[in-house]
Amino acid sequence: MPEMKDTVVIVGGGSAGMETAGQLARAGFIVTIIEREEITGGHVNDWYHLFPDRRDSLEVIEYLNRQINNGNITLLTGKTVENINKNNETFFVSTNDGDEISADAVVMATGFDLFRSERKEEYGYGIYDNVITAADLEALFRKGKVARVDGEIPQKVGLVHCVGSRDEKVGNVYCSKLCCVTAVKQAMEIRKHIPDARVFCFYMDMRMGGALYEELYRESQEKYGINYIRGKVSEVSENISNRLVIKVEDTLAGRPLRMELDLLVLMAGMEMSEGGAGIARSSGLKTGENRFFAPFDHHFGSNRSNIPGLFYAGTCTAPMNITETISHARAAAADVIDYLRNGNR
């Protein structure tokens, strides 16, 4: 009888890695998760409420923790993967602290990095105190108080869509897909925290492609009076009274518009994680023009890589929301099982 192949290493302990691990562990496989941070959960830890139903992100963290609460799973935190080698049918995963872990299959779940908004210098992130990112705003929501750096409650708030997305100037031609609906959700939450605030979203297109997104957009207009102005903010400055002054072309009125704001929120997009990109270089994994891992086949093999036995799960292949990430992670588990049990790549 041939030896059972049953060990899997998962690189990354965010939602994709945790879900894949849970699925494989319940199917009887021996799984090791390697996570760079000291805690699992990835970016979900930084979020407050999730679209479209404004569920508390802690519920997702609890769900994911239940997934990996399994005797077949070993969790290694505070470690990064440097290199993955395949020798015959066995993978050798080497980490930054000199460990080498062998496995019959590997799943990359290295996720994404948020676009560093200071790269769009014209928006003044890191220069003006009251220009913040969507992630910074989530932290304020979690604290229970949305305020400017000087403690004042903002009465006029702007949200800039497509920061670091659909922008050749920063090398990202793709749409990050989640920022539009995040802006809609955050605009509504700002109004919940500050009922009198006026909120303006500056967008190029409203991309409301997901389930219940368009409904949320409509609700934001109807119940929360959110103002949508089509046009990408071209520059931000600060005036003598410490307000932000923005310039934007109101493309539907066909004229430039200027406005003072108390707080400006940048909807930073998603980029291939630096960790994932490093492993791609060291281990010969193919990446696409968008720098994310390139799926072996866009339709039938979005979890497969150019190396048989090495699979992808979640946002290391493209921007995804949590629903899509969980589905993609389950599909990765199915592919791993098919590979280890039936020899299909």
Partner: protein, 114 residues
């Protein structure tokens, strides 16, 4: 630099903070659907008046929302209130009521009288 500065020409730009949004507020408080417009332009495309004049209901709504009342005032009388725009609006906005309320608002506000 005087001629090629980075400032926006005063006569061209929408000075949002200085503009008076009283007309928009008047309409929105009585016809909440006013806020639902997504600027698709269906209303303007089907508009009988817009076929023969430069009248655009889509543009009119955005001008009012931005507080560009002087420009909106010139246009408001061109609507014949036929209501075809209501039939095509994908967001279900009672567009005719928006026009009626806009006229009402301009009439009540003497500074902005039609």
């Amino acid at each position: 630099m005087d001629k090629f500065g980075f400032t926006i020409l005063k006569e061209r730009h929408i000075d949002y903070d200085a503009n008076d949004k009283c007309i928009a507020d008047y309409i929105a408080s009585r016809e909440p659907g006013f806020m639902l417009c997504i600027e698709c332009g269906c209303c303007s495309a089907t508009c009988t008046s817009g076929n023969f004049t430069r009248f655009s209901l889509r543009e009119l709504q955005i001008l009012i929302r931005r507080g560009e009342n002087d420009l909106a005032r010139e246009d408001i009388s061109k609507c014949m209130l036929c209501g075809k725009c209501i039939l095509v609006c994908p967001r279900g906005v009672n567009t005719r009521n928006v026009v009626t309320l806009a006229r009402e608002a301009f009439q009540k506000n003497m500074n902005n009288a039609v």
